[in-house]
Subunit: 86 residues, 4 copies
C-alpha cells in the first residue's frame, strides 16, 4: 500500500489535551479519541471517585477485553471461510 | 446462558493496583490487565517523558483503534461468508 | 428519486482509453478517473517495474482499504450522533 | 499510536499474485484483496470480453467512486455532529 504520511493530532480527552502521533488520518484519530472519552465518562458515572488515570486504565482494560473477544470470533470466522473456499 | 457471578479482581498495572469488577473470570481479567500493562510499557519506551495518565489515555486510544479496525474486518468477513453461503 | 439516465464516458487512464457505463454524470466519472490515474502514477513512482495491471490492482487495493476504513469511521460517527440525539 | 511493523503480504487476485507492502496486518490485507477480487469477478460477469487490465482499472474506478461518495456523506455527518456539540 502507498506510504501514509505521519499525522500529529491533538485530541481532548476528559478535559486534557494529548498529542497523538501516527499514521492514521486526523479525522480517524479524533473519532477514536471521542470513543475513549465517552467510555471514560461512562465508567465515571458508575464510580465517581476514580481519578483520570484509573478511568483511562479501566477504559483500556474494557476495550482490550472487547478486542480479545472479537479476535477469537474473528478467527472462528476465518476458519469457516477457509473451509468454504477449499 | 447462565448468569455469571460477579468477580472482583485486583490487578497491577504500571506499578499501581486497580480493582476490576465484572463478569469475567479472574484469570481472564489478569490476562487482559497484563496486555494493557505491556502496551503502557511499549508507549513509555517510545516516549519516556509521558506521565502515567498520558500513558493510560494513549494506551486506551491505541486499543480502541485496534478494536475498531478489527470490528471493520469482522464485518467484511461476515459479508464475504454470507455471499459464499448463498 | 428520479431514475438517472445511463451515461457512457470515455476516460483515459495511464495512457489507455476505457469506456465507463453507469449512472454517474460524465464530469463526475472523469474526476474519479483522474483520481485513479493519479494513484497509479504514485504507485509507479515507488515501484517502476510494475505493469499497468499490477498498478491498477494495487490502486484498487489501496482505495478499497481507504474505503473500508472510512466505512468503519462512518459507522462510529453515526453511533456517536445517535447517542447525542437521545 | 505505537509504530506498526511493515508487513509483506502476497495476495492472489484474479489468478495472479501480487505483493502488498504496507503497515496493515496480513489478515487485513488478505481481506481487502478478497473484496477486490470479488469486484473484478462481478465486473467480468457483466462484460465478459474485458481483459484483466480493463477489469482492474474499472474495479479501481468503481471503488474510488464508492470512496468519494462515502467521504461526502462522512463530511455531512461530521458537520451535523459539530453542530450538536456547540
Amino acid at each position: 500500500m502507498t506510504q501514509p504520511k505521519k499525522s500529529r493530532t491533538t485530541v481532548k480527552i476528559y478535559g486534557r489535551s494529548y498529542k497523538v502521533v501516527g499514521e492514521e488520518k486526523e479525522d480517524h484519530v479524533k473519532l477514536i479519541a471521542n470513543l475513549v472519552d465517552e467510555k471514560m465518562q461512562e465508567i465515571h458515572e458508575v464510580n465517581k471517585s476514580l481519578d483520570t488515570t484509573s478511568l483511562a486504565v479501566l477504559t483500556a482494560i474494557n476495550t482490550m477485553n472487547d478486542y480479545i473477544k472479537l479476535k477469537e470470533d474473528f478467527e472462528v470466522l476465518q476458519n469457516l471461510l477457509e473451509e468454504k473456499e477449499e
